[in-house]
Every structure is written in C-alpha cells, then in structure tokens.
Symmetry: C2
Subunit: 106 residues, 2 copies
C-alpha cells in the first residue's frame, strides 16, 4: 500500500485526481475547484504527480501560453483503482455525512 | 468522491487504514509503525476515524488500562475499497519507485 499512498496521499492529491479525471484542465480551473489550496501548494502537488507519471502537463505555444494538465494512461489506471473508494463513499453517504459534520475541528 | 476523501484524505489516514487492517492494535504499536507522526496528530486522526464510524476504540479495564483500536464493519468495507489502490501500486511498483525517490522535496 505504501507506494500508492506516496502517490495519492496528502491533503490534495485525491481531490486533484477527481478534478483531472474530468479531462484536461488549466491551472486556474483546478485552483477554483480545490477550495483553499494555495498557488504554491497546487503547483508542487501537480509537479509531484507529473514526476510520478500520473499527470501530463501540456504547454501550448499560444499568446499567452496555455498549459493544460491531464491524466496519463498510468493516471487513468489510478483513477480506475480509486473508483471503489468513491462507490464506498456514495453507498455510505447517509451514514457518513452527519459524522463528517460532527468531526470537523472546532 | 468528496465523502471518501473526507474519511481517508490527509497525510496519515490511509497509512492508518493499512495498519488497522492487520487487526486490533494499541496506540503505541500504531505510532511505531507510522514513522514521524506526533502523539497529538495520531490521537486526533484516530478520534476522527472513530467519529466517521470506521474505527472502534476498545478500553480494557485492566491495570494499567489497555486501549485497542480496530476497524468497524464499515472500516472493513473501506479497507476492501482501498484494495484496488494497493493492487495498482504493487503492479506499477517498478515504474513508480524511482520516480518517488526523484520527487521527494529537497
């Protein structure tokens, strides 16, 4: 398990997988979807996921330059491997939702 | 996906799931397996997972008192849902391992 945790562990990476699974997105679009992430932390997370081979960064030589992030084939496999987790969360939504509210830090 | 991320997101919770899946464990045993976690952070994570209903805390009225943590049935289901992630990591171990070394922060 520890290898997978290195790749999707941390506060933001699973959120990022969820956003990237929808298709190529620009940095600003990702940032708007991840509530509360700083520019620096988002850039660092994307850089790490690129280094892990799950995210592809495509630079379009336009004016101004456009950069899009997407999942690589390895990232698509990872996304598939995360599906049962999503199914588990959805199946237990009613049981978990009130608890999630209760357990938020004061 | 966001509900599942609330439950296993963050730096330690997937590590914790992995340790707890092996059977009931005491606080000190968990701490020794999670390299670098502080007592306070581990206690807070276990408390949150208990609040989410995935971890059970059992107090044995011995002298000194003994406390053991284990997965609830909901936690066991979550553990099952995490298996494909482990399989993905193991299947791609060779591709990922060198990259994980490279991507560690300086």
């Amino acid at each position: 398990m520890s290898i997978a945790i290195d790749v999707v562990g941390g506060k933001w990476k699973m959120h990022l997988m969820w956003v990237l699974a929808e298709g190529p997105v620009r940095f600003g679009q990702i940032r708007r979807k991840l509530d509360g992430v700083s520019e620096k932390v988002l850039a660092e997370n994307l850089r790490q996921m690129e280094a892990h081979g799950v995210v592809h960064r495509e630079l379009y030589a336009e004016v101004p330059p456009r950069v899009e992030y997407s999942l690589t084939p390895l990232g698509e496999q990872l996304n598939q491997a995360l599906q049962p987790l999503e199914v588990w969360g959805d199946a237990n939504r009613e049981a978990l939702a009130p608890r999630l509210v209760e357990s938020r830090p004061c």
